[in-house]
Amino acid sequence: MKRDPFRPSPRAEVDDEIRFHLEMRVRELIQQGYSPEDARAMAEERFGPVRPIQATLLDSTRRRRHREHRVEVFRQLAQDAGYALRAFRKNPGFAVAAIATLALGVGAALAVFTVVNGVLVRPLPYREPARLGMIWITSTNPDGTTSDLPLTSGFYSDIARESKQFERMAAFRSWPYSMAAPGSTEQEQVAGARVTPGLFEVLGVRPMLGTVFRSEDAVPGGPRVAVVSHDLWRRRFGADRAIIGRQVILGGESFTVVGVMPPGFAFPRGAELPAAFQFALRTDVWTPLAFDSTELRDYGLMNLSAVGKLPPRVTRLSAESELNTLMHNFLAANAPQVKLGYHVVSLVDQAGRPVKRGLLILLGAVFCLLLIASANVASLLVARVTNRQRELAVRAALGAGRRRIAGQLITENLVLAAAGTAGGVLISLWATRVMIALVPGSMPRADDIGLDWRVILVAALVALVGGVVFGLAASLSMSWKRLAGTLHAGDTRSTGPTSHRYGRRALVAVEVALSLILLIGAALLTRTFVALHQVETGFDATGVLTAGVGLPVPGRFNPAADGPEWSRKLNEIAARLNASPGIIAAGAVSSLPLSGAMEGGGLQIVGEALPPPGQGLQAQYNVVVGDYFAAAGIRVLAGRSFDGRDDEPGRRSIIINRELAVRHFQSPANAVGREVRSTFDFTRGLAPRVIVGVVDDVKQIALDEAPVIQVYVPESQLTYPGLAFLIRTRGDPLGALPAVRQAATAVDPLATINEVRTMEDVVSQSLARQRFSMTLIGIFAGLALVLAIVGLYGVLSLLVGQRRREIGVRLALGARPGDVTRLVLGEGVRVLAMGVFLGVGGAFVLTRVLRALLYGISTTDAVTYVGAALIVSIVALMATWVPARRAARVDPRTVLIAD
């Protein structure tokens, strides 16, 4: 903004005003006949004390100047913005192209940022979430890695009692309940958790209605009370505020509802904890978790998750070392050969851990896209300034200073950037939803993802930085010195100073490079995805339906007493299904393949020397019912599958997988008839089991896992109250669902059916995160390529347009059209070559971050690199061809006469 250089300072202005007054008074008094000295003295006397008045006037004058300045700035801004809008209206093609490009880049970037913000940055919806930590037991594996394991009731009770560092601690475990809708007998499975009463205080969440548990609720034989989620309360109880004190039947037992939690509270949320613990996506009902005297001393059954709250200024590490001291003392006294420790993970890290790397890579990819979009817009702007040189020269001639014109260019671009960002915010609102929908149920903290002040702030920053950078780019690309000359020369032949042409070409080369990097990244992820699809799963998913069937567990979990009943019922359901028409085979398993769920235990081979402590065999074990192997399509390699013989009392049989057979018995056939002991036989001690068969290796957690030892035991020998049924059908697998319902309710009216899916869906869901990264980076790479090609095309078209005269002269002097085409093509190829060179180099360095996400392919796979470079080159050459042909068709006469 321009200052009036003749304007007096506020002090001079105030002095002048006062002096004028005094002079006028003196003059009048002299006219009345006083002497000049007397007149002066009288005038000052009548005016009163000058200094305080001077100070007051100075203040008000300064304030006024300030205000005027502000008003002037706003006036200019409004003028510039209005001017910008008029300019955009005059040239809508440019405005639409620039705004759409920006909106696309900003929209994609904001969408990814919204997800990253929700999953990794935003505080969890609990009180003082930074002070919350999950507590795990760690054990060191033979290969030196450590794994986090759940606590046992004994370990938890010990640390809850003895730890001084934690302010409060709570334990919880998944506990699915069957619940009948009021006035109906149909059972629905609700996601439940048994929790120690302190959980709600640890998380700092108060009930919306009623109360939460008191400590006297959590004693063995205590009252049967339940707290329900806001969602369940609305869905199943019609949001009835009189629910408190009412009875609800959970798993066949009557519970008194004592509280309703506020909206949004669903801790524990399944996607935030390791899948193996089998928490549902959102928890809907909570019941007290109590330990009886046996459980207080149980150090074997790891089934509890624990969360603790640290006081302010106590670090995670000091709490961890305190727990480790407790563990050390306990093990020294009770089991000196065992090596275990504790691990405290902040709740935020725990939740974001499985997706953190993928999300950050995605953020990097989308940032590349944003850069490309911005480079395109900048390139458009520079082109536009060159074409507007004349208009700006007129403005300069009419008295606009250099600062005023630069200011106007920046305002213009701020308007542009603001419009692009606004479009981007709209796109991101939609794109965020699409992104979450790509990974149903497996994005941690999906409920916490949404627009918040951080996203708005980033959007505003992008708009501001974009506007200023574009404006500076535009005003820097102007040749101020030639601005005056432009006008009288009527110069339209300018091609701009060579340095600017190079600048624009470098910009496009960088765009090509960035899009090539993204393309290579996308190709690597796609090939990983394809490779994973070709992995042998060990089972055959086609035509198979799966449905979880849960039997009610009244009172406490007591397999010794209730087991035979569960076993009889589950076998009965399997038998009924196997007899149904259209069903080829039906069976059930405790942990569904590729679902991420698994249970582990120790194994020892009879006849082999006892391994040193802590280095025994670890096996994934599964309990099966019915014709499981036939239903799942798991090949039996030797021996037989389970049958009626294994249900005879006193029988102890086991089926092992190929991995164990090959590693310890040389071959599957050799293994049959040998014996193993298993530590997961919590009801029947350590008597050996006879290997009756060997089956293929099955992928349990993920497709990219290495083969592990897996064993199977029949339900009749190791009882479980709920299993996942697999039903192999002749037709549409979902057609078997009514048969499953019928069989289950016929055997137990309180049985629940849950998680009905086809096995093909299970396989597909196990790849959800890979598909997520692959799809998004693929989309970003595609957009980036399109933008880069548009940029290349734009720069070459502009070049041809500006050099029409030169081309005309060349043609007039005898150059053939082919020469001209080569000239332009050469220009394009140089830019392209530079871009490909930079891109391949960049990808070589940057794709290293992808290593953990890749399977069956190296980050420097030559075929991928060459293929991606070829695709980019071919598309870029096509974009170069059009302006090159246009150049060859220039008519020398028209061009030269027009001059």
Partner: protein
């Protein structure tokens, strides 16, 4: 010549007088002072300086605006004039003032104590 009471007491009054003089047209501070003196029989003789903070205050409120011009004797002087908002303000304030002074006069002229 009675001494004037404190400025505080007079502030609102002074503002009103300034608005009134400016309602005749633009004027610099000195002529505003002279007009007020003439019309008030020289009541505002002492402390003419306090007129200027009043003028600036009115300007900050947006009732008056100013610019520098040549005065009648060809010297640069700061001229003040009423804004439309100032004119409206003057009308309201003068009505309030007349009502107020009528009321006070009535009380002072009352012969009997009200029952």
């Amino acid at each position: 010549m009675p001494r004037l009471p404190t400025l505080d007491l007079l502030q609102g009054t002074l503002d009103l007088l300034v608005l009134k003089t400016l309602s005749w047209g633009p004027a610099h501070g000195y002529s505003v002072a002279r007009w007020i003196q003439q019309l008030t029989d020289d009541v505002l003789r002492v402390g003419e300086g306090s007129l200027y903070p009043a003028l600036h205050r009115l300007e900050e409120r947006g009732w008056v605006e100013s610019d520098w011009r040549r005065s009648e004797n060809n010297r640069r002087a700061k001229f003040y004039r009423l804004t439309p908002a100032g004119r409206a303000q003057f009308r309201t304030e003068s009505q309030v003032w007349s009502r107020f002074s009528t009321a006070i006069a009535k009380v002072l002229e009352a012969g009997e104590q009200p029952v």
